[in-house]
Amino acid sequence: MSDISKKVIGEIHEKNIKPLSKRYFVVRSTAVWLSLLASVILGGIAVSTEDMFLERANGLINWVSLFLVFSVFLFMTLAYLNVRSTGDGYRYRTVWVVISIILIFIALAVLFRQEGIGDRVESRFDSHCPAISQYCPDRY
């Protein structure tokens, strides 16, 4: 045994260092994946509440929902960080991770819109957060 290995084993015994349990890492990994799932779903809902992403407004976008842009950006960032925190997340180039997240957001937004989830969320916002909803587009 070399000097360093004696020191390492000695410190392990002296401080009674134990390997962290497998369960700890499973819980941590599960938390990351759930967080990723939540940020993707919430991002999809955020996109689905905005009609202009999905319908033409006379060919022009008249104005931008500040809160929507902020929330989509926030969920996209969270989703990106969660992907990077997964075991193999580092293997994928940033541009492909971002594009994939955007495509998933759009796909979920279409699904949620068809289910009417976007409208339900938006109407709750109108009634509970009037200060924020003033920045949201008027519904036709």
Binding site: I4, S5, V8, I9, E11, P19, K22, F25, R93
Partner: protein, 206 residues
């Protein structure tokens, strides 16, 4: 005869059997008995020490402290070792992170002469020179390397001093293989520029 000899000498049979065990298998065994972990430490402490010195230009004693911290941290996280990954990539990753933390926290950086490892500094030095297409003194290469930004230095050290392939470097630095390739390509160009700049300034002062 070998087996008869081994039966007669338990130490030899222990030594032979330890050497035959793969790193990945030793990780599993270490969870039950830390003597196997000692074997892992013995296998990697020399390599990690050299890597740390080459990477952050610290003294031998500091490198030993970092190596010790690395193995303690690795021991705590043994249950997080992914068997799909090579153990060497995993332990290098932990050592790399510890070295980066040390570098950020250290108040003074005692640079040591890279020539302390002159026999082994550049095992792939000729490959690097060939790839750079330049004939240059090893000392100039090392000097230029020490002046590069960390993100370029780390990939060159791992590729040409530690002789890691792109996939291993990707696993160690947790960066995509494409990014590693781009960094190495860019790092080589910067290295040539640094060497040329130094050569020009040397000529000017002569």
């Amino acid at each position: 005869m070998l087996y008869g000899g081994a039966a007669a000498c338990p130490y030899i049979s222990y030594y032979i059997s330890m050497r035959d065990i793969s790193d990945e298998k030793l990780v599993g065994l270490s969870l039950g008995d830390d003597k196997y972990y000692g074997e892992l430490v013995d296998r990697y402490e020399g390599r990690l020490q050299k890597y740390i010195v080459r990477f952050i230009n610290c003294g031998i004693e500091d490198a030993q402290d970092i190596v010790q911290e690395t193995f303690i941290k690795a021991y705590r996280n043994l249950n997080n070792f992914n068997p799909d990954l090579k153990f060497s990539s995993w332990i290098y990753r932990i050592a790399h992170n510890e070295a980066v933390n040390y570098f950020r926290q250290a108040k003074s950086h005692k640079a040591i002469a890279m020539e302390d490892f002159k026999l082994e500094v550049f095992p792939s030095g000729q490959d690097l020179e060939r790839e750079l297409g330049e004939k240059m003194e090893r000392s100039m290469l090392l000097d230029a390397l020490s002046r590069l930004d960390t993100k370029y230095k780390e990939v060159l050290v791992l590729r040409y001093m530690e002789e890691k392939d792109y996939m291993e470097i990707s696993d160690i630095l947790k960066k995509p293989v494409g990014t590693v390739s781009s960094l190495i390509s860019r790092a080589k160009k910067l290295l040539i520029e640094e060497v040329k700049l130094k050569a020009e300034s040397n000529v000017r002062y002569k």
